[in-house]
Every structure is written in structure tokens, then in C-alpha cells.
């Protein structure tokens, strides 16, 4: 394993931001390769943990170095500055690095960071980006693939997650790493991780096992794995969005990942000052709770649940 410096940014008073990648050179130069990007934002603890756990796995858990067949680059964190102060975006100007691709070497700070990162990510067969959802929600782990014309749904199934969200492309997605990486010839996939700030070992193992599954099935590593799910491809039309008609204290009564029946109660809202139940949330369909609002206080008309419809 080699540690390589991807980029360095100086600061007026903080230690320099030094982003490093861990490069595991494979035994077969003709084998497919992969680059994995962890936390581009602060508050993305599971992406950070999963990527760092992968570094440890590749260093210590494969009993023979030759079992790493293709080149693997892991960059666990890009945005230490935000992680260390529990902010989501670049701490000075609050810009999101994942909206700066392909980057610009003569541009603003986060455009420069994106450019240096993007340069280091070129030439890999596959690219994996560990992300969390935007907005105030958490979810079961799933793959997000944009309908860009470059996406590879068949390969995405090799992670073995329950869901692949085949998502229509918004204008703002055209400056994301996934879209640009695909445009430049790498098969890129975003793993959307739960956005909890504490590590749940069961969930983190699921995310981690999916990546090992993928590496193994693509013959990038030799490692026997237990198969995951036969992934279901989900389009926007397959998702039932359930909003709250009242604001207040939000209590989900069903967890994400739960299969539910139509008319089953899945959550309630409590009046924040008087304690009474002001709204009960019932599922309008059979399905799987894929995402849920994660704060204890919820706005009126906020999206409380996203349910993948079944039946």
C-alpha cells in the first residue's frame, strides 16, 4: 500500500488540509480498477467510517497481497476541515465540494479542491462515492444512479443492496462527481448511506459488505463473500412521498427498512406545547420505508417518509 497526497490547501490559522489516498496496487495490471471517495462533506460519518474500515480491511484482512488483483484507491476524507467542526460544507464559504465538478484549477477554493481530486480519480474502471442524502432525512443504504445515459445498472446490482434509485437528472446534478466521473469514462456509483451521526454497526456492515461484494464480483479482489440482495431498481414513480399535515414533535413508529401494509400507522406528530397527538401518519400503500425524516421537530408539509411501493 502506498499513501499518496491528493491535494493540500493552506489555511490562515488551521493546519494545512492534506487529503491523502491509500493506493493498493493490484497483482494484475489488466484487471479492472476502482477508486472510492469517502466524506466530501462534514456530518458524513458513515462514509468516513466505511472508507477507513476498507483501508484497514485491504491492509490486514486479505491473507495474501496477491488477492488484490486490480488497483484500488481509497480516499476516506476530502473535507477534514468540515468534519472537525461538525459542519456540512466547506467551512468558509459553505460551498458543497460535490457541486464543483469537474473542478477548475484557476477558480475558487472548492473548485480547486474538486479539480485536484478529479485529476487523481481519472483512469479507474469503477468509481464509488460514499454520500448521505441531502435534506433532513436518513435512509437504508442504496445506490443512486443518475439517468445520464452513461450509467451501468447491471454493474450496480453487484453491490447487492436492496435498492438502486435510478434517478432523473436535475440541473444541479450536472456538477456532481458521479455525473462528471461517468462523463469522463469511469463507471461511477453513489452509495447513499444513512446520515446518522453515530455508528450503527449493523448498518455500517451492510454498507461495507456491499463494497466488498462489488470488489469481489468484479474480480478486483479475491475474497469469498455471501451474496447480498437481488437489487430492485426504483424510479421516481415507484416512490410514495408521505408528508405531515401538521408540524410539531415527530415520532416515527416504524423504522426505515421496515416492510409495511397500506393503512398501517407509521408515525405521529405531537403538539410541541400541549403534548396531544395532532396527526397520525398512515401509509397509503404497501411497501418498504426507504427514507424517513430524522429530526425530532418537523415542519408542516415536510416529507416524513419515502416508501417504495410494492404490490
Amino acid at each position: 500500500m502506498k499513501t499518496i497526497e491528493i491535494l493540500r490547501i493552506d489555511s490562515l490559522n488551521r493546519s494545512p488540509l492534506i487529503v491523502e489516498g491509500y493506493l493498493f496496487e493490484g497483482s494484475d495490471p489488466t484487471a479492472p480498477s476502482v477508486a472510492i471517495v469517502g466524506a466530501m462533506e462534514g456530518e458524513t460519518i458513515l462514509p468516513l467510517y466505511t472508507a477507513s474500515k476498507l483501508v484497514d480491511f485491504l491492509r490486514h484482512s486479505l491473507d495474501d497481497e496477491s488477492k488484490i488483483v486490480g488497483n484500488i484507491l481509497v480516499i476516506p476524507s476530502v473535507n477534514h476541515y468540515a468534519l472537525n467542526i461538525n459542519q456540512r460544507f466547506w467551512p468558509l464559504d459553505k460551498t458543497d465540494i460535490n457541486t464543483m465538478f469537474p473542478g477548475y484549477g484557476e477558480g475558487e477554493t472548492t473548485q480547486r479542491i474538486a479539480k485536484k481530486l478529479f485529476d487523481a480519480l481519472q483512469g479507474y474502471t469503477h468509481g464509488i462515492i460514499l454520500e448521505t442524502r441531502e435534506g433532513i432525512s436518513t435512509c437504508i443504504p442504496y445506490i443512486k444512479l443518475f439517468e445520464s445515459g452513461y450509467e451501468d445498472l447491471k454493474s450496480a446490482k453487484k453491490f447487492g443492496y436492496r435498492l438502486i434509485h435510478h434517478k432523473s437528472l436535475r440541473p444541479t446534478d450536472t456538477v456532481s462527481l458521479q455525473y462528471n466521473w461517468q462523463l469522463w469514462g469511469t463507471k461511477a456509483y453513489s452509495i447513499i448511506c444513512p446520515s446518522d451521526t453515530n455508528i450503527d454497526l449493523n448498518t455500517s456492515n451492510e454498507v461495507f459488505d456491499g463494497i466488498v461484494n462489488f470488489l469481489s464480483k468484479n474480480k478486483i479482489i479475491q475474497y469469498k463473500v455471501l451474496s447480498g440482495y437481488e437489487s430492485t431498481i426504483v424510479k421516481n414513480r415507484d416512490i410514495e412521498i408521505i408528508k405531515t399535515s401538521k408540524s410539531g414533535i415527530f415520532i416515527p413508529t416504524k423504522k426505515i427498512g421496515t416492510t409495511i401494509k397500506k393503512d398501517e400507522m407509521i408515525g405521529k406528530v405531537i403538539h410541541a406545547l400541549e403534548g396531544k397527538v395532532t396527526h397520525r401518519i398512515f401509509s397509503p400503500c404497501d411497501g418498504l420505508i426507504a427514507c424517513a425524516y430524522k429530526n425530532g421537530l418537523i415542519f408542516e408539509n415536510a416529507v416524513a417518509f419515502r416508501v417504495i411501493k410494492s404490490g
Partner: protein
């Protein structure tokens, strides 16, 4: 003036978020009565537009007989952000000007921008007033997407601004208010002026004259009063030069904002307080008008320091 709510949401604890609109209208409406919408505060740290809308509202209150069109005022799109010094929509951390057109089924910021777009829809003209951010000071300027410039440029010239910047179409900007409204058939102009978290009164009064001038020429007000109309510089006849910081440090200005400068003039220095040393001295790469200058002194490598509009043969 009529005040209505275009969007409301009960907040979790004893408070209601409302986005308000003020409307001035003529005593009699005709089939060809024109409508203009003035929008500001999409970013919670940008207050210059609030002042302009105050001045405009005051003028219309004092001159009710001049009103011959409909004037809709939306001073605080991100009302929660403005009152909490938050640029994006609080908690969601979403830039509302990257969330258009939104929808009823979107998350809350998307619902809000959808409500705004639906309410402004049908206006003949819309003006979206921004004040850069807390980092940069801008002279009053209009930003126009080249795609819509045939219809918006003639209007922009009436707004009494100093500079018109016509930029190429960029996909990511399709999520802005101006793109959404232009697509819906409302001729929409973006004004940038001043600096975040403050009011630059002289700019506010300058833009007020421009808006009144435009409204008069469009028949939205009928008055004999004359309003100032400056001849703006246009990016069509020159180039925009960017000066980004080459290093981290404190930026110390050496030049007055909005100055006409010569190639090689010193714009400022990047200094290190601890060592007392100058890291870098920044020189103008072109002669021209300095229309953007950094106000917030802490910089990283790449932080934007200044923009100059200069002659096109002196490329950066």
C-alpha cells in the same frame, strides 16, 4: 397596498413561517395592464434588495395616482434565513436559488420556491435583487443569460446600473429563479449589488431610480418625473478578468472599490499576521473597471479577490 401570504408553514413550536407579497395596482385594470414583480431575500444574508423594495414601496405609497400597472413586491423569500443570518434555508441548508422550479411534492424548500414561481408566473417583468454575499462587494450590475438576452437586454439598460454582464448558459443555473421565470415567459433580470449583511444606501437609491425608469417606460407608472438612466458598461464589448488569491492569509485592500484601474495597479496584499510578512501582492491583470472587490479578509488559495471588466484584447 394589499398584503397577502403566498406560502405558509406552521413551524414545530408556536411560530408560523410566512412568505408575504405586497401588491400595488391601478384603480382600473385594463386587458393590457402590465405586471412587474420585484423579488429579494432569496439568500438570507442579502439585504440590499429589502432596502430597495422599501424605497419603492414608499415611493408608490407617496405617488398612488401614478400607478397604472400591477407592482408585486416579495422582499423576503427566505424569511427564516434573513431573520437568522442564514444564507440558505435554515436546517435544510439549501440554496433556494438552486432549488427552482420545485414542486408541491418536493421537500419544504422546494415547496416554497414552487409557490413563489407560481405566484410570479404571469408577470411581464421580474427583477431578482441579490447582494453578492458577505465576501464580495459588487457595483450595481445586471446578470443576463445569453439565451434570454434578446428580450431582457433592452430592459436591463433602463435599470440605471453600471454594468451588464451577459453570461453563457450553464446547466446548473437552470435551477435559478431567473431561468425558471424566463422559461415561463416572464422577462426576468438579476441585479447584483453591494455586499451581504449590510445596506449600501447609495446603491439602493440608484437602483430605485432604475426600477422607476423601467416601470415608466413600460407604462406601469405614469408620471412626468424623470429618472436617472446611466449608460452601463456591457460585457459584450470586453472581457471579465478574475483575480483569485494565490495563498491563504488576510487580504488587505489597496484600492477603492469601483475604481477605474490600470494594468499593473496593486489591488491588495495577502499578509500573515503572525510573521508580519506579505505572502503575495496582487496586481491588476488588465486595465478597466474594478466591479467586484473582496470585503471579507480571510482567504484561502482560490478565494475570489476581485473582478475587472477590461478590454477584450487583453486576455487573462
Amino acid at each position: 397596498m394589499q398584503i397577502t401570504e403566498i406560502f405558509s408553514s406552521q413551524l414545530p413550536v408556536g411560530e408560523k413561517l410566512t412568505i408575504k407579497k405586497g401588491r400595488f395596482e391601478p384603480k382600473e385594470r385594463k386587458p393590457d395592464t402590465k405586471r412587474i414583480s420585484i423579488v429579494s431575500g432569496t439568500h438570507g444574508d442579502e439585504l440590499e434588495g429589502q432596502y430597495v423594495i422599501y424605497l419603492l414601496s414608499k415611493w408608490l405609497n407617496e405617488n398612488p395616482d401614478t400607478i397604472s400597472g400591477i407592482v408585486d413586491l416579495y422582499p423576503a423569500v427566505n424569511a427564516l434565513g434573513i431573520d437568522t443570518i442564514t444564507r440558505g434555508f435554515p436546517i435544510y441548508e439549501v440554496d433556494l436559488n438552486r432549488a427552482f422550479p420545485g414542486s408541491k411534492h418536493d421537500y419544504l424548500p422546494g415547496q416554497l420556491v414552487h409557490a413563489l414561481a407560481e405566484d410570479v408566473k404571469g408577470s411581464d417583468i421580474a427583477i431578482d435583487i441579490h447582494s453578492s454575499n458577505i465576501f464580495l462587494k459588487e457595483i450595481p450590475q445586471i446578470r443576463i443569460n445569453k439565451e434570454f438576452s434578446p428580450s431582457t437586454l433592452p430592459l436591463a439598460k433602463k435599470l440605471n446600473c453600471d454594468f451588464i454582464w451577459i453570461h453563457d448558459a450553464v446547466t446548473v443555473l437552470e435551477a435559478t429563479f431567473s431561468h425558471t421565470m424566463n422559461e415561463m415567459g416572464t422577462k426576468t433580470l438579476v441585479v447584483e449589488m453591494g455586499v451581504g449583511m449590510t445596506l449600501t444606501q447609495v446603491y439602493g437609491k440608484q437602483l430605485l431610480s432604475g426600477i422607476l425608469n423601467l416601470m415608466k417606460s413600460e407604462g406601469i407608472i405614469s408620471t412626468d418625473e424623470e429618472f436617472e438612466q446611466r449608460e452601463p458598461f456591457s460585457s459584450e464589448v470586453g472581457d471579465v478578468f478574475y483575480i483569485n488569491s494565490p495563498s491563504a492569509g488576510l487580504f488587505v485592500q489597496s484600492i477603492t472599490h469601483c475604481a477605474i484601474i490600470k494594468k499593473g495597479d496593486v489591488i491588495g496584499t495577502i499578509v500573515d499576521p503572525l510573521s508580519g510578512k506579505i505572502h503575495d501582492t496582487l496586481y491588476a491583470p488588465s486595465g478597466g473597471i474594478l466591479f467586484t472587490l473582496r470585503e471579507f479578509p480571510v482567504v484561502y488559495e482560490g478565494s475570489l479577490i476581485a473582478r475587472i471588466f477590461g478590454e477584450s484584447h487583453e486576455n487573462n
